[in-house]
Amino acid sequence: MNFELTEERQMLQDTLRRFLADRYGLDVRNKIVDSDEGYSPKIWEELAELGVIGALFTEEEGGFGGKGFDITTVFEELGRAGVVEPFIETGILGGGLIAALGTDQQKELVEEVIGGALHLAFAHGEPSSRYELSQVETTAKASGDEIVLNGRKAVVFNAEAAGYIVVSARESGGLSDVDGISLFLVPADAAGLSMVGYPLMQGGRAAEVTLDDVKLPASARLGEAGKAYPAIVTAIARANAAISAEALGAMETASNLTKGYLVTREQFGRPIGTFQALAHRMADMLIELEQVRSAVINIAGHMDDDAKTRDLYVAATRNVVGRVGRLISEESIQMHGGIAMTKEYELAHFAKRITMSDHRYGDTDWHLERFIALSAA
């Protein structure tokens, strides 16, 4: 057993940590969060140059990583700095699905993605699907040589910046059947595709996407007709590794801010951290944080296992991350007091990132139920 990062990953971690500490401070981040785009094209470009996106792809795909630990190394650092730039959508979901299913011609887009020139989005969730990955009502119907898409997609991250949107649609089967779901590579400017964009509580932007008779050539299909479900589950498993690591990084920052506050803030003539009522709660946070660190190692280390084992670890990790995330976010705010309720103070952003991560790809309870179902199977 060896729990050290490889030399390459250690270098990537050091580089990212230095760059983000230097370039992604509170003022920069607040400006980005309040901007119309919801992300910084310049930071995006610079992080791409540092290899943030390349690390998410294997060498065969044109990158230099692609394993579970590459994903978690990158996203822990992004989480630590509170980065809102949409790397999961472009790198893991959109890019990952193209790399996994695309034809040689479609895969040419991956190079643009790794270089930072192309943004992607993954339009899968729908207004009533919540976290159910097989629930797809959007339809894809053949019409002569063309395929016609109709439906609505909900809370599509990064849709406005994306050059292409990977859209899931049903070609056959019933509402929640795993068979019959296909993926399509839809240019963002396709006729019939419209969107209403909005900012997100945790920073960044998403959109409600409507597909109204969007006509595509058959070559826009990604992978085999009706067989996309396993690839979607794999991409979401990788996104779960990313969001777990991101939450871990954010929890580390929240804990550090709280530790710092406990020793500097004085009330009743002494640092508030000398009150045992607070000191013990800080200790509990640190104990639980180590649980999250291990859970993230678990999800990363089992990313390439058979689907059942992998998914068991995904569910277990997200459940731990969700529970501890709530504890750390709420306790950090409470132990700071009023100052943590303000937008100006750094902690607020991290508390929002941690809490809102529980609304992506399943929440704490959803993953617990999934764990129970997978364990029983």
Binding site: R130, V155, Y198, L200, M341, T355, E369
Partner: protein, 396 residues
Amino acid sequence: MDMSYTPEENAFREEVRTFLKENMPKDVVEKTKSGQELGKDDLLSWHKTLYNKGWIAPNWPKEYGGAEWDAVQRHIFEEECAFANAPRTVPFGLTMLGPVLQKFGSQEQKDHYLPRILSGEDWWCQGYSEPGAGSDLASLKTRAVREGDHYIVNGQKTWTTLGQYADWIFCLVRTDTTVKKQEGISFLLIDMNTPGIEVRPIILLEGTHEVNEVFFDNVKVPVENLVGEENKGWTYAKYLLTHERTNIAGVGASKAALASVKRIAKQEISGGRPLIENPAFAARMAQVECDLMAMETTNLRIVSKAAVGQAPGIEASMLKVTGTLIRQEINDLARRAVGPYAMPFPSEAVEGDNQPIGPDYAGPQAKRYFNNRKLTIFGGSSEVQRGIIAKTQIGV
């Protein structure tokens, strides 16, 4: 022991319900329901509606123009207001300053200020906390120095809720620096239009402007604006805090919030069935409801012991700790219930001309969850309340 409501109390509930149905400003109800921020006009219009009915000050004695309701009546009123989506009345004049003036104010102060609090003519805010004086409130530094017929005030207050609308602020100020910190504090009434006062907004983490910083730069305050005796302000401040903690359990608000979560959970479909039938979610919801049912009775037990116009003692601290925990748990359930639609940011999702994103009940939930983290921080944090309970009960 009799836990049933008397026929008179049931009739009172009916009267309140009918009144609310017929008199609540419709636009204000809509805003409260959808979680939008209420402006000064919204809050004042509700204040005036209750004032005209004679119900604006449930806890004030009749001699000062209050309704002088007993604990059960106040409980019924609070519950009906919560279920009707009525906004909370602004507490600074009505439940904080009012009782202090009634007990410690001069006859002139009572005659002048109390009717204006009732009518809503004066909007009050609270000048207690400072950047260095939060839980340790007695360490406050804002200085008031007597010069002839005036005090000259210098310093800074913070977390001043709705101070942006206020005509007046009641302030704790330091008038003697040579004695024990609790013994050098005075209670001053300050006109917000006095030169030298500056109000700066503090934006909360979910984007709302509820609180402010208030700066005092050589502000001249007439000596007749001193309440009670100089250097006795800490006594008045503590008296006020016990009143602030009446109704702090928020039983009505929690019941209404839980009912709202149930409505949402019936509409949300998760894994092919309503979320309300999902075992994990149902268990969480049942757990908090069990707690709430017990707390309702705790609240009635404690509040009914205190005479009209009086505040309960340390039991109020217990109610605050339990009541806020329950409320926050309900807010957490609500944000979970709406799933991915918790993420769209409400400034655009529920305000202005934009259509709501997702179901109309989704927009305010995450915002409310974050905003209500304040419940365990303000008005004496849960840690301060536990300290009070421990000190009184264990004696350490």
